[in-house]
């Protein structure tokens, strides 16, 4: 019995050549940064870097050229993503637009929506955020209470979103709202594009435990949006958002977002580490290598047009656990307390990830929700 179908990963063009291209780009453009800002790097905003990445053709890689895309194959895109993550590049500004908002618009959006948003997204200049969670709707997403009501020429919105990553930096929020008055659970929900500069929309920061401002509350008080802001079919929001989650959960960022910490440990350990450190490095490398095989398989399944929901949950769960175990294992193996505060790159990354990694098994669906999906794959529920 298995819940994980293995798919063969093969790019249509020479992957080595593409990697070389990305690495050359990074050599040129990777900003000097505080090492801690290289960890969890898909949450690190850097509009300038995103713009240059867009210029180089590494955003919107799968999208049609008429929308500013590059019509590459999905596994080429995967190669680019893993190179960016492994290098700890600050890809946070455009990440969500490239990963899910853009693809959702290509699948469900109108021509006008595509023309309005996609070219700017592909240039690395127009960013998006995800407005799913609400105060009463976390894991239980179907408990959404924010509403959109039909009015002359459009919709009037009311409600509140929370934990909205990058809402302070994004132009638009793709959100899920209740359009059918009195509907319950998965019924009567619809997806909308809400421009964040609209009157009646207010973004308020939430500072996280590290002291960073990454997520926000978004208050919507009688904001009016045009007819054309509805995405896809009215009342089909749940199904559409579920498809969006497959994109959200299946990428390499679910195991590779703090790879720079492992690289930094290896550098700090030097070419001849003692047996304890060698053992720690070996174990972490084995997990990394295995997760990469699994993540590539998920990407290949997605690219072949199949839905890798259960496999993606497996990789997210194992990947989150690996990324949480990584700083713990390194902290446990270091020689002394001093090494945690010696100002080195390793110390900086380690201190950051010890604090930020607990969020990995929350964002994008919690550990328990992932395991619930796997259990469904086992037909236990």
């Amino acid at each position: 019995m298995s819940v994980f179908a293995i798919h063969r990963f093969a790019t249509s063009t020479d992957a080595q050549a593409l990697r070389a291209e990305v690495r050359a780009f990074l050599d040129e453009n990777l900003p000097e940064a505080n090492p801690a800002r290289r960890t969890n790097c898909w949450a690190v905003l850097d509009p300038d870097f995103s713009r240059r990445l867009g210029e180089a053709g590494f955003i919107g890689m799968l999208w049609p050229k008429r929308y500013g895309g590059h019509e590459r194959d999905p596994l080429e895109r995967y190669v680019v993503l893993e190179e960016l993550l492994a290098a700890g590049a600050p890809v946070g500004s455009h990440w969500i637009a490239d990963r899910q908002t853009g693809p959702v618009l290509l699948r469900y959006g109108t021509e006008a929506q595509r023309r309005k948003y996609l070219p700017g997204m592909a240039r690395g200049e127009l960013y998006a955020c995800i407005g799913l969670s609400e105060p009463g709707a976390g894991s239980d997403l179907a408990n959404i209470r924010s509403t959109a009501t039909r009015v002359e020429g459009g919709w009037r919105l009311k409600g509140q979103k929370v934990w909205t990553t990058n809402a302070h930096d994004a132009a638009v929020m793709l959100t899920l709202l209740r359009t059918e008055h009195g509907s319950e659970r998965r019924h009567g929900l619809s997806q909308f594009l809400v421009d964040l500069d609209l009157p009646g929309v207010e973004v308020r920061p939430i500072v996280d435990l590290v002291g960073h401002h990454e997520f926000n509350e978004v208050f919507i008080d009688d904001a009016e949006i045009p007819e054309g802001a509805l995405v896809g079919v009215e009342g089909e929001g749940w199904t559409q958002a579920t498809a969006e989650l497959a994109l959200e959960r299946s990428g390499p960022e679910r195991y590779l977002s703090s790879h720079v910490l492992l690289a930094s440990l290896i550098d700090a350990a030097g070419p001849e580490p003692d047996a304890v450190l060698a053992g720690v490095i070996g174990r972490l490398a084995a997990e990394l290598w295995t997760l990469r095989q699994m993540s590539m398989s998920v990407a290949a399944k997605l690219a072949s047009g199949e839905d890798p929901m259960v496999e993606a949950a497996v990789v997210k769960d194992l990947g989150n656990s690996y990324e949480q175990a990584l700083p713990i294992a390194i902290q446990a193996a270091l020689g002394s307390e001093a090494q945690l505060a010696d100002g080195s790159a390793l110390a900086g990354m380690l201190a950051m990830l010890l604090q930020s990694s607990p969020s990995f098994s929350l964002r994008g669906g919690t550990r328990e929700i992932m395991r619930g999906i796997i259990a469904r794959g086992l037909r236990l529920r």
Binding site: M1, R19, H259, I266, A278, R283, M294, V314, G372, L380
Partner: protein
């Protein structure tokens, strides 16, 4: 999976299934008649012409049924002898990769350590220091040992046994590690299947166990671990076939065996937890899988062995080098 591999797996399934209750000799005859021994020998030399992915797939099927035979050892021994230009060992054969002693003037004196099923086989293919030789077991004094599953892992003592060594360029230890990963993957998948089936049939508090969320979550973890083992094993077998770095896929097999070893604790404890006391009985077949997993974890490299070997290798690559190396190898594969 190639068509050839699908057929191979199908025949492995039916033969391994049919020998369930048979004696060792009967089971062996059935497996030998099916021609698995020559799996890795090329077709031009009268072999099956299988690759490492085929070997891995057959080992998985063997592991799923806890096949109590040194089948993989036989395949590897036959292949290794063939590579060395030696006569294929007659009848049942096993392998020895830990050799204490040497061949001098055409005779081996010493001990072949922890030979799988040493007491049952007719011959052993021993490999040490770049040389291979075949030794019939009838001249050996057998010191019986077992792994935690009760599988024979015997020390074979030889005093001046005739031996003709030949040079060979195979890292049999590495191949044997891949063999165990295949078996471990199969056993983990079966332990999962048994656990799910049990959870769906056993009732407590008026419901089947499968309806309890705590049980579901534990089984999900077990499934994820089993998936990791198979993903690693399949990728390692594929890497061995392509051998992009020309080192016999040492890095991939090291990572796969280590990852498999790391999964054993969770897989065995969770499977037993879900089963309750019935799984702790001799009669119930779960232990045929879990005890083997515990034993195989130590064989051909335990966690410490592979973690240090891999860690030393990775340290030499440097921080950026690790990523460059694993991507280069998979791109070329």
């Amino acid at each position: 999976m190639s068509e050839q591999q699908a057929l191979l797996v199908e025949s492995a399934e039916s033969i391994f299934e049919s020998v369930g209750e048979a004696t060792f000799a009967e089971a062996w005859t059935a497996v030998e008649d099916a021609g698995f021994g020559i799996l890795l020998v090329d077709e031009a030399s009268g072999g099956f012409g299988g690759d490492w992915a085929d070997f891995y797939a057959v080992m998985r099927e063997a592991g799923k049924r806890a096949l109590p035979l040194p089948l993989g050892e036989m395949v590897l021994g036959t292949w290794c002898a063939h590579r060395a230009g030696l006569e294929a060992p007659p009848g049942m054969a096993s392998i020895a990769v830990e050799v204490n002693g040497e061949v001098r003037d055409g005779h081996f004196s010493g001990v072949l350590q922890r030979v799988p099923w040493g007491r049952r086989v007719n011959a052993v293919v021993a490999v040490a220091s770049g040389r291979a030789w075949v030794l019939p077991t009838h001249g050996a004094r057998i010191e019986a040992r077992t792994n935690p599953a009760g599988e024979p892992r015997d020390d074979l003592h030889f005093g001046k046994a005739a031996a003709t060594p030949a040079a060979v360029d195979v890292d049999l230890w590495l191949c044997a590690a891949l063999m165990r990963v295949g078996q471990m993957s199969g056993a983990a998948d079966s332990a999962l299947a048994m656990s799910v089936e049990h959870a769906n049939s056993r009732k407590q508090f008026g419901r089947v166990l499968a309806k309890f969320q705590a049980v579901q979550q534990n089984l999900a973890v077990l499934a994820a671990e089993a998936a990791a083992v198979n993903s690693a094993g399949q990728a390692a077998a594929l890497a061995r076939d392509r051998d992009p770095a020309g080192d016999g896929a040492e890095l991939e097999i090291a990572a796969a065996k280590l990852r498999a070893n790391m999964a054993v604790g969770t897989v065995t404890s969770t499977a037993h937890q879900v089963h309750g006391a019935i799984g702790f009985t001799e009669e119930y077949p779960l232990h045929r899988l879990t005890r083997r997993l515990m034993g195989w974890r130590s064989e051909y490299g335990n966690d410490r062995y592979w973690a240090e070997r891999l860690g030393v290798r990775v340290a030499r690559l440097g921080g950026a080098g690790l990523w460059r190396e694993i991507t280069r190898r998979s791109d070329l594969a």
